[in-house]
Point group: C2
Chain length 393, copies 2
């Protein structure tokens, strides 16, 4: 069920855009003399001959002029192909491409929630959810905390209880947002747990926002997507699995026609440059290269995680063993003082000159946990762990 | 004065981002062994060697990794240089780059208005204002109509009266939004009129959103910007003056520190690909080419407008003579029937197979006016006008 705001947005396609795409599909030209003459779109078509040689990019006119604002058909087709192994049954028409996974999360939150309504988040959770899911949508987050004793494993029964409790408290929960693979802990949730989570959500009439941006960055377990289940809307992007965070290409997938319509309308405010879309579509169409790249990236992530765990173990520092992602969820509880987690973080940052992020940022259920990202040069990680060990000793 | 929402947004910089940029400025490496080891950012730095050769773009790592989300320093510097002749006194630090002028307008509306508050717009006005300024911000538009008898000229006295009337009616107006050069009519407002408009706005305690996206597309009068005046926030982009509508590069300029802070926070949801930012920064840094391009574009627009006016005159079709922009505001009032403007539009589109946009889309004060965009091949325009004349005869 979409928000009131989303219904208004989806109903209100700008007239100029509608006319533009209708006539451009059958445009007048030397090879189509009976086509529509488009004198409606305020596009400067008098200067292409001046621009093309100077741009120095594959000079397809369509790559630098108005395109569909929720992703070119070429890029959406390439993404559907790329993601077919993890998002089976998802086609180009189910995808909305926007300028980053942040924008995709914001769009889903805005499409599902009116201001003041809530999204339940298993905690610890991806720190940027606080901004991504609430700042523009006006939704608020309700964390449900998991326990260190259980390695912070996702527990659908606890979600069930939290949803019942929220209803008792008069909180209108519209969605559960979950990172899968999980960030910061690095769990790759099992198919059984995810199925149960979706069942719980459905029994409470709430949707699921599945942030699956690390889908191809697993090494310790097989990834299962929630996509395709009714009421599930998933997000992916190029920032993690491809390491192309600057390109700001995010994509959301949904089988819900109302959410899709709202997402397409909201994509109007966060489109991706056609220049970048062309680059990415070309990259992804090279399927042989992509397969090799993803396999090698996964191999390196596994190697890096394993090596980092060895370093931490040797330094006497605990952690939760991850099955995916770029980080380790590190246990510095023994090093907490009365000054608290923030003070420990600042000591690590200022004295140790190592940046790791404190659990408080991830709404950790208890203080003393930190997220350490290992997906960088081995020497850098080794130096970081050595400095960390020194500052803690 | 910024909206309550904007104050919250500006106050709430994501902790991860803050730590990231602080430590990256003094990062550990072979040449900086005492620098910060950044194990805080979830960036996959293990795969650059695999990506760089395949991307086939100038392979600067910074062009595809996390950058400042309101525009790279290089692009903002290039934009400040480009716009210096029209936006004097505006520096890179006054600019926020986002994915399109639409996003920039949305951000200004959201920064200035809380939901339900109003923006006054001289009408006829740019059709997409209805979506750009209201759909996400929750603001609403209050049109102030100008008269065909006066060529729809911008009249600050009428704006003054409309603001007084709105206040009497209990409407909280936070801004005036004006296209300058005007779209759809093509006026290039005089310095005196713009000064008076800003004075009127200030006297009512409202800000000005100046959509100056056609700043370099004038030919019949000299363009004056409102930028630099207190309470004025301007928008520009690459879609019009450079004809690069697909690149989705919009920029806003403000000297108001609160609006700037809110705009930077909101830019997080609509960033531009660093790949495209690098392309544009490179293009704009070639100042000799840019000067020649803009002069030639202006010459062609003038020629095209002149030729189109001759065609219309010969066909007995009236218009308002423009001094800038891509369009002519065409007077089809003599051809209106009782069926109304929409029916006339559909006849022109379906029977004549010409797409021009009806004045209703632009909140025209009276029916029968249409916007005809001439900035395309001379043959296309000639065919369009001939078909138009035929369907009207």
């Amino acid at each position: 069920m979409t928000s009131e705001r989303a219904k208004l947005l989806a109903a209100d396609e700008p007239a100029i855009a509608a006319a533009h795409f209708a006539v451009e599909a059958d445009a007048y030209g030397p090879d189509n003399p009976g086509g529509y003459v488009n004198l409606g779109t305020a596009d400067n078509r008098l200067v292409w001959d001046l621009l093309a040689p100077r741009l120095g990019i594959p000079a397809r006119r369509s790559d630098v002029h108005y395109g569909l604002l929720y992703g070119t058909p070429e890029l959406r087709a390439a993404l559907a192909g790329l993601l077919a192994p993890v998002w089976p049954g998802v086609g180009a028409e189910d995808l909305v491409v926007v300028s980053g996974a942040t924008a995709a999360l914001d769009i889903l939150a805005s499409a599902l929630c009116d201001p003041g309504e809530a999204i339940l988040v298993p905690a610890p959770y991806y720190a940027a959810f606080d901004t991504d899911l609430t700042a523009r949508s006006g939704a608020r987050l309700v964390p449900v905390h998991f326990s260190a004793d259980n390695g912070f494993a996702l527990d659908p029964a606890a979600v069930d209880r939290a949803l019942a409790e929220a209803r008792r408290d008069g909180v209108v929960v519209r969605a559960i947002a979950v990172t899968s693979p999980s960030n910061p802990v690095g769990h790759v949730h099992s198919r059984a747990v995810l199925r149960e989570l979706v069942r719980v959500a459905r029994s409470h009439g709430v949707d699921v926002i599945a942030d699956e941006i690390y889908a191809y960055s697993t090494f310790g377990a097989e990834f299962t997507s929630m996509v395709g289940e009714r009421g599930v809307h998933a997000v992916w992007g190029l920032a993690k699995d491809f390491g192309l965070s600057g390109l700001k290409v995010g994509v959301l997938a949904t089988k819900d026609p109302e959410v899709l319509a709202a997402a397409r309308a909201l994509a109007y405010f966060a489109p991706v440059s056609t220049h970048t879309q062309a680059l990415v579509a070309d990259l992804l169409s090279d399927t042989g290269w992509v397969a090799g790249f993803l396999a090698e990236s996964r191999r390196r992530l596994h190697e890096s995680a394993t090596r980092t765990m060895e370093l931490l173990t040797r330094a006497g520092i605990g952690y939760v063993e991850p099955a995916g992602g770029f980080s380790l969820w590190v246990d510095l509880r023994p090093h907490l003082t009365d000054a608290g987690e923030h003070a420990l973080w600042q000591r690590i940052l200022r004295t140790g000159r190592v940046n790791i992020l404190p659990g408080g940022v991830f709404a950790s259920p208890e203080p003393g946990w930190f997220r350490l990202c290992h997906a960088t040069a081995a020497d850098t990680v080794a130096t970081g762990v050595a400095r960390l060990a020194e500052v803690l000793s």
